[in-house]
Amino acid sequence: MLSYIIRRLIFLPIVLISLSLMIFSMMMLLTPVQRLAVYAPDPSFMKGGADFVAQQIEKYGLDDPFYLQYGRWIGNIFRGNLGWAESYSMPVSQALVELFPATAELGLLAMIPIVLGAIWLGTKAAVHHNDVFDHSIRVFTILGWSFPTYVFALIVLMVFYGWLNIFPAGRLSHWATMEVASESFRAYTGMNILDAILNGNGAILLDAIRHLVLPVITLAYVWWAGMVRIMRSSMLETLRQDYVTTARAKGLREKVVQNRHARRNALLPVITIAGLIVAQLMGGLVITETIFDYHGLGQFASRAAQNLDFPAILGFALYFAVILVAVNLVVDLMYAFLDPRVKIG
């Protein structure tokens, strides 16, 4: 176990360097003037006129060979300078740190219905193999796979916000935003639900939940499809195992056989995929956050892309790569911990 962790940690820098090389290569497709913005510490920097810009390109060596520029870029990042995000009027690094809790909150909350729903539906489908329930789940998952996230999101917004007005868009109501920003409310984590509980503030808690329902449903609906299919086939496979037959032969009740003997062992692939989904979920978050006007990293990325805000988009890509590597590490370790059959190291 320990040697596995150490080996993973040794590989970590290699992965990070390859990812940063990939992002930097994309950046090198830009012209030197566009790249200069990535080094800008504040907005006045880019407004110095053509002579000044040419001077700065010289100064920052933006016409230098690839490896020199890469080294300088990485050095700058280690000093915490990711450039100025024009679309948010603040340094990129600051925006990324401030917006992270919101996205983490949404992503983690979405995982709960995705995993639980998939386990439940997948088990049902496998137990009722080939009957009406199974068929309807199959149709449901194919439909889910084919339905664009943003169309689904716009439709639920149309119905639940425009028509019924129960679940609003945004991250908090106006009054709640004011209260969260005020002195009396202590922001421990930046995640509204957690903070509201820690502060014992029921009104904020309710408001935060109301705003989270629609984005969570949207993210969950799209990912259910894949997860249900995996749980179903895993469960089908387990139900055919000898020990399940043995359990039945012992005279155990069918419910006990299904839930205690089969389902537990069928869970492993779902947990693996759940870990992988955390990363892919972020792609969906860009669209979901944009549509629901939820102030997080996803919305930051889409706004930066629309405004051709290169420092912001590259900073986001890099930050995101680091988070992903960390998440993957945690998931791998958890997996090894959960399944005694996985021998690592």
């Binding site: 390859s18 943003y150 889409s302 892309a305 290169f310 986001f316 890509a317 995101f320």
Partner: protein, 294 residues
């Protein structure tokens, strides 16, 4: 005939084929079933009747209404079908070609070559597809071909891995050894003996991916980094509908036509490809043949 009988026995597959044929027909007939205005430089540029922001409901002149900025929804939907085929087929063909080349080189030569190419694929895979494509499209600039390049750049790894594992399996088979013993060259072995036998999974994967690529492309257009404004593209039609989904007071669904028509088009297109891909897997994959299907 095997295929017609298979289709009749599988209503889902039949639905897919019928839907797909309908889309092919619409794409082919696009110049016939729409009228091009004199001022349109390219037929892919949607005609607009005026410069108002507010969408207009269906009328004899605009059978499906007009969306924001008075673009004709019907015209955009019909020509958008061609755009969807261009994106889906173009991205998947190019991606599969690159993937097959890299994957077969990796598998055939093995050792360091394999290790290097697969680690490169890992790096490309470690980034979420949509975000990577979004970043690259932003850098390359708006436009259909830029968007397709971005989707191809981050879309070849799946094929490479698939063909690699397939070739590793086939490489060890007796008939390959026999061909080698007969003095066949590396290229001949790969092209004549190995690839034809390992391509089926790639074909299935490709047909399944066509729908997802169209979804991804329309998502990019929706986020505002895809096609140029006014280009006949379903994703863009939905992006134009975005400001109007709240309707007007008293009638929340006043502008439903701006969202529902293009939304249904994308949904059916992707559904068609998914169903056809599912059916292809059944027909082409001998290992699944005879296996119980739902």
């Amino acid at each position: 005939m095997k295929i017609p009988r298979y289709l009749l026995k599988n209503p889902l597959a039949l639905t897919g084929v019928v839907l797909l044929s309908a889309f092919v027909l619409i794409a082919f007939l696009a110049p016939v079933i729409t009228t091009r205005e004199a001022y349109q430089i390219s037929p892919y540029q949607m005609p607009r009747s005026g410069f108002w922001q507010r969408p207009q409901p269906p009328s004899p002149e605009h059978p499906l209404g007009t969306t924001q900025s008075q673009y004709d929804i019907y015209y955009g939907m019909v020509w958008g079908t061609r755009t969807a085929f261009k994106i889906g087929l173009g991205v998947v063909l190019a991606g599969a070609l690159i993937g097959v080349c890299i994957g077969s080189i990796a598998a055939f030569y093995g050792g360091m070559v394999d290790e290097l190419l697969m680690r490169v694929a890992d790096v490309f895979m470690s980034f979420p597809f949509l975000i990577a494509a979004m970043v690259l499209t932003t850098i390359l600039g708006k436009g259909l071909s830029q968007m397709m390049i971005a989707l191809i750049t981050f879309g070849w790894m799946g094929y490479a891995r698939l063909i690699r594992s397939e070739i590793l399996h086939i490489k060890e088979m007796d008939y390959i050894q026999a061909a080698r013993a007969c003095g066949a060259s590396d290229v001949r072995l790969l092209v004549r003996h190995i690839l034809p036998n390992s391509l089926y999974p790639v074909l299935v994967q490709a047909s399944m991916n066509t729908g997802s690529m169209v979804l991804a492309a329309s998502a990019l257009s929706f986020l505002g980094v895809g096609t140029e404004p006014g280009y006949a593209d379903w994703g863009q039609l939905i992006a134009l509908a975005r400001n109007w989904i709240m309707g007007v007071s008293g009638n929340p669904f006043a502008y439903w036509y701006t969202l529902i028509y293009p939304g249904v088009a994308i949904f059916l297109f992707v559904l068609a490809w998914n169903l056809v891909g599912d059916a292809l897997r059944d027909i082409l994959d001998p290992r699944l043949r005879g296996a119980k299907r739902v």
